[in-house]
């Protein structure tokens, strides 16, 4: 950068020009400071969402830039939360963008002492096999008294209550068709 520009950006000279003998205000602001603005203004889009923590159901606004969540704030339009969030809701951005999150499938073979990598497709196929095999092995057409039950008690499901209703619906539908009965969730706990 040329000396002229450097001098031009020297606040002392700006003070002289502005006859500012104190140097407390705008004259000492850096170019970077003068360009400050809310990063949400740079978002590609802002999406309406709902907080995933408790059941109050606070509205959230999710800012997205280049396919990444850049911010999550309360949604002022919500008649329930009126734009406000609790500490957990306020930490939602960290929740979804934390480096601690899982990104790939981990597999532990029986008696294994360490996690192994496993392609998702392979994992899904193996899980399907386990379910089919266990179901076949433990199928009951009749119970001990000869009453039709057409079910398996060989495996169980426990779901969190942060699952969407659509997700719960498909799960219950699938498990019921499989004859799996021990389908439970957090509501029991």
């Amino acid at each position: 950068m040329r000396l002229g520009d450097l001098l031009g950006r020297w606040p002392v000279l700006r003070q002289l020009r502005a006859r500012d003998g104190r140097g407390h205000g705008a004259t000492v602001a850096s170019p970077q400071t003068q360009q400050l603005h809310p990063r949400t203004e740079d978002a590609d889009r802002v999406v309406q969402s709902i907080c995933p923590y408790c059941a109050v159901g606070c509205g959230q606004l999710v800012s997205v830039k280049n396919g990444r969540v850049t911010g999550i704030e309360g949604d002022p339009d919500s008649p329930i939360s009126r734009g406000r969030l609790c500490p957990k809701g306020a930490a939602s951005r960290a929740l979804v963008s934390s480096p601690g999150r899982l990104t790939t499938v981990k597999y532990r073979r029986p008696h294994g002492t360490a996690w192994e990598e496993l392609p998702l497709e392979r994992a899904m196929d193996m899980i399907a096999d386990r379910i089919v095999e266990t179901r076949a092995r433990t199928w009951q057409d009749l119970d001990d008294d000869g009453v039709p039950v057409r079910r398996t008690l060989g495996f169980a499901h426990l779901g969190g209550a942060t699952l969407d209703i659509e997700e719960n619906y498909l799960l219950k539908k699938l498990y019921t068709a499989l004859g799996a009965l021990q389908i439970e969730n957090q509501a029991r706990i």
Partner: protein, 311 residues
Amino acid sequence: MGADELRTYYDRPVLKAPTWRFWIPSYFFLGGTAAGSSLLAAGADAIGDARLRRAARVTALAALGGGAVALVADLGRPERFHHMLRVFRPSSPMNMGSWVLAAYGPAVGVAALADVSGRAPLLGKVATWSAAALAPAVATYTGVLVADTAIPAWHGARTVLPGLFAAGAAASSGGVVAAIVPDAAPARRVALGGVAAELALSSALVKSLPDDVGAAYLEGRAGRLRRAATGLSLAGAGTCAAGASMRAGRAGRLLTRFGGVAIALGAAVERFAVVEAGRASANDPRATIGPQRRTAAAKGIDGPDEGLAAQ
């Protein structure tokens, strides 16, 4: 809840302790030494004592150089040291000090270089006297800097601290220069005078503060440092005087040298004592709340008896 009993938030400090590390009191000492030396150099120039003048000029440059290093080293972002001259802000003693140093530094440098090189004696003279002109500011602004904080032990002593630092500047510069040229009576006198003033102002400082604030200078680490400083100064002064009284002779010179160094050390430790006292004072919520509670009461802002009692 009695009015006498102070209430705090889990005994936690209200203020933040200074972030300054040992560099800063070191600079206070070195800067003061440089300033005093610049005055000695001018004095020596006036009486035409070349040996004393050279010793003073070189001491000033050495001390200031060390001080500059200390200043930069203490910054959280040393590479940005030049931002100190980014603005002109009279409300900031540190900013003012920076501008002063910006003028003082070159003067000291030129004076010393001219002397050592033996070239441009006139320029050296001008530089010497310019440095001397700025020296009082350099010696005292640090006292203002420390006083212009929220820390009770410092802010409460704002009218004494500049003087204490000036006295320290005299003592340390006199001490160092005397150690180099033991025969130079003016240096010895400046050193001894400095010590006298330093001891007087140091006790005046404590007396000027209310007990709950002044305690910071008497107790703990600060108290120990302060006592050490006093000891060194007195011992140094005694030795120096003794050395001077023994007309010439190697022994006398040796004593004077020792005395000079001890005096300088005393002045240095005194600065560390002041900084330590500030740290202790900031960490003690009572030192902050006590005096403010008294001024508040004077203004009629509700006192500790109200509040709960009203519940």
